[in-house]
Symmetry: C2
């Protein structure tokens, strides 16, 4: 530690960087960005992956509607501009978490390719893992865990992704999982396997 006197402060000298934190945590900071329709299993899978990693002593954090919508993004609505700003802020926060060394999972529909690519561009190559949950809309609607498809069909929700608003599938995602075919355990295994092969854990 610098022994400088108060009148001779050394500015910003002792910064601990991302690499130092990653050594402490024995992992690399990254974003596992889940994208897909409502009901495709984003939050479920994000939390299961985090849980499996945690059991192997890895530090993880999940950003999802539960901790973002009523906090950081509570002053955003559902206009096109606000949806874009929603994803932008989530991307910036996830990037800070990755810089902290945390394996960060995000679970948001994030329907627009351009918005997701902007987040990808924030990170160094290999640190943004896009996981496309390619579950057919019919299956998602059958699950309808939050009753949102029913409301969208009844016209109570306008601009609902997959019903009357578009979803732009990723062109080159790192991982594709059809959760109507692959079960939860195997889906988790596939993602953990990817992290291992990419030397992130």
């Amino acid at each position: 530690m610098a022994e400088s006197e108060a009148t001779n402060i050394t500015w910003h000298q002792a910064t601990i960087d991302c690499t130092a934190r990653e050594q402490l945590l024995n992992q690399k900071g990254c974003i596992i960005w889940f994208t897909g329709l409502s009901g495709s299993g984003k939050s479920t899978l994000a939390n299961e992956v985090a849980s499996a990693l945690h059991q192997n002593q890895h530090l993880t954090y999940v950003l999802d509607g539960d901790n973002i919508r009523h906090g950081l993004n509570k002053n955003l609505g559902f206009s096109p501009e606000d949806r874009e700003e929603n994803i932008r802020r989530i991307g910036e926060v996830a990037n800070l978490f990755a810089d902290a060394g945390v394996i960060t999972a995000t679970a948001f529909i994030s329907p627009y390719r351009a918005d997701r690519e902007k987040v990808r561009s924030l990170l160094e190559s290999g640190r943004f893992i896009e996981v496309y949950l390619a579950c057919p809309v019919e299956e998602c609607e059958k699950r309808d865990p939050k009753g949102l498809y029913k409301k969208a069909r009844a016209g109570e929700i306008k601009g609902f992704t997959g019903i009357d608003a578009p979803y732009e599938a990723p062109e080159e995602p790192e991982i594709i999982i059809d959760t109507s075919v692959l079960n939860l355990e195997d889906s988790v295994r596939k993602i953990i396997g990817y992290l291992e092969s990419a030397d992130l854990i």
Copy 2:
């Protein structure tokens, strides 16, 4: 891990909570909120505290102008509303970091008592440590590490805290340090001592 089939997904079952992450990290997530005039030593001290903690195997992260102003808050200016929103977003992000188990230091002037109290109210009691760097404005102006006081005196910057905009000192901060009196090393020691006595590390 749940062995449910894809058609029978268990929603949000496997959530790892803050307590689990804190056990993994052997520390408690919290915010060390530095507040004080420009030049009072917030970033320096935040980084030195983070460095000292890191050397003891603690995971820390510093939020400051360097990683916030050009990222998450790049769409904010310096109007009263934007300044409030600036601190609000930083508080929400710092709260997420604390929830992740990270010892999070923030280094922003944050001149308004009400804005700081809103952040405090996000966390459970004892997890928000307000550190008031009570360095006299004369000393801060003498240091002027970024040349901002000079610009403010020349009228090139309007509404500069301590010159022509108010700074509201905390009424009951957890820690007060006059960095014109206490040197850097002792300042770090005082903060680490507080964290120990509060059982956060």
